[in-house]
């Protein structure tokens, strides 16, 4: 770690979108040669930018902690693309740790991703990839609150927060989707507000009696 003596810029935060998830596919005719006999799926877990841009200016390495039954369960990917392909037969929680570049002088970010191999029938909103490929992809944002000056310089030199304005097959996370979600939530809020009004009226009635 570089000696990060630089000052943090107070009251300021920087945001970078990030996408993580996994894709999975059943073995077809061809089995990977060195896959154990009980394995049925080929899956890939990844951490990337929303438009598959280079994020190595920010991320130094990504550590995937697999299930203990895998040999060398802790896999470290030190160069882009930050992804890992394995075979397996079951779903489990993968611990993902994102380490940032030394200049940032930030602690790593750790989260869990549930490896998905099988489709869920009740989820409709999930984008269905062709060829029976299962995918479980999440959008999130890395928030650097009060970054130090060096990180600030790095981030400022590379605008990367903009999302495409429209949904595409390649990148569904877009301004459009964001707006759609906001609208959905707004509908929910109005519904809740209505219910609150109703309840208030009921309570008032109860209190009157």
């Amino acid at each position: 770690m570089a000696p990060g003596v630089s000052k943090r810029i107070k009251t300021l935060s920087l945001t970078r979108p990030i996408i993580y998830g996994n894709t999975a596919k059943k073995f077809g005719e061809v089995r990977p040669p060195n896959a154990p006999a009980e394995h049925t799926h080929l899956w890939t877990i990844f951490v990337r930018g929303p438009q598959d841009e280079d994020i190595s200016y920010l991320i130094k390495k990504v550590v995937f902690k697999l299930h203990d039954t895998y040999p060398n369960a802790t896999r470290t990917v030190e160069a882009p693309p930050f992804e890992l392909t394995e075979t397996g037969w079951g779903e489990f929680e993968i611990n993902v740790k994102i380490h940032f570049v030394d200049e940032a002088n930030e602690k790593m970010v750790s989260f869990y991703h549930h490896l998905r191999l099988h489709p869920y029938h009740n989820v409709k909103a999930e984008p269905q990839a062709p060829n029976d490929e299962i995918s479980s992809i999440y959008y999130d944002e890395l928030v650097f609150n009060e970054p130090n000056e060096e990180l600030f310089k790095i981030l400022v030199s590379r605008p990367g927060n903009l999302l495409p304005s429209n949904k595409t097959d390649k990148c569904i996370f877009s301004k459009q989707l964001e707006q759609e979600e906001i609208d959905r939530i707004k509908i929910g809020i109005s519904k809740v507000d209505n219910e609150i009004e109703e309840l208030k009226a009921k309570i008032a009635k109860q209190l009157e009696n």
Partner: protein, 480 residues
Amino acid sequence: MSSSDIFDVLNIQQKSKSPGSTNSPTPVASSSGTASNRAPKTQVTGMQRELYSLLGENQPPLVVQPSNKFKEKLASISKPSPWTYAPFKANLSVKLHHWVKGSKELVGEEPQESPHSKYNVHLTIPSFSREEYESFMNNAPEEQEKENSAQNDEKNANTDSKTDQDWTFEEADYLFRLCRKYDMRWFVIYDRYSSEKRRTLEDLKETFYKVCKRYFTAKSPDDALLSSLDYPKQKELERKKYLQRLLSRSAAEIAEEEALIIESRKFEMAAKKTLNERESLLRLLDSPNSDQSVSQYLSSQGISQLYGSLLSDKSKKRKHNTNVPENPWMKQQQQFAQQRQQLQQLQDRKHDGQDLASPRKTKKQKQEIQTAIKRKAESVYAEHLLKNFNQEERAALGVVTHGEKLAPGVFLRSTKVSTFKPALQNKVATILQELDLPTRPAMPTSEVMKEHEELLKGIATLVDLKKHLDKLEAEKSIVK
């Protein structure tokens, strides 16, 4: 084990002083022989004795001390005092003997009066002839009637006068003779009384006292003791009846009676207690101007006034009455705190005088102001850094100047979704599901998160309101 045994075992031919005992190792049973032989050695006991027995003497293992089983002889030096078997006069006719302390010369030959004869006193029971009886019995018939009616119920009056008449002189005389003979011991008299007519003990007593009374009224009508000769026959009969009943109770009845008595005691105690309590309560209630009329307290205003005065009075009283010792430690602490505050105020004043002439503020307020100033400077600096970027560029960079105090560091925005207490969290999740919304927004951008937070807040309010409503309804149902 005697020493001779040891010698036997060791096969040592012993030369004993006491011949005969060497051959027979049997212990000498009688201690008297040995005691006479070795008189000075009988006193030795304990360890010494064991040592002695090892010396080679054929001694018994146990020294039996001769003891006397009888009482010790009286070692009196004084001469015994003389006693004389002397005659005495028990009665006029009977002469008896008894032991008297003193020598024969002192007592004398004459048979003496018994010292107990002075207790042999007989009652003087009036005697009368037939004429006398007739005269004083018929002398005051009116008086008799009056007495009868006064003493007895009207019902019994007739029977009494009748019984009065069927007592002849002979019978009365016989009764008086018996009384004289047995010294008014009524049960004996009743036992010995033999007449063709059946007389109860009470009859006998009544007649005796009546005749006596007549006799004495005829003799000395002004005697003050005359009234003591009244005999209330009915009361006596009742008394006996009660006693009879009291003595013929069964064990169960006795137990029940005792239980009842205990119970009644309890009631009495409780009553006493409640009385005391009520009294104290009344005293308490009366304490403010009890001498005035109640009419002024009858209105609601008056009652509230009374209540207020009572409260104030009580607090006053308590202040006066509580003699609870103060906690010295608390007092000291308070003092310390006061001192510290004063010191601080002094310092603050100095600072304020130098910096700004603003009115004094609490420490917290000042801190807040300070941080606000600092924050402003910081945000100014942040703005300065961003001054080259316009709004769109800022959005592209994802730069925001929030101006808030947040923990520095990196985090995923989705982790900042508000959470609630577990129970509430479940309800919120259910409502979100009903609204067809995910618990984690699909795109946790800052805009979306803002909306999501608002939604969650709304849902929390909703849950709270529902709870309130349920509670109200439950209360209603209970009231109904």
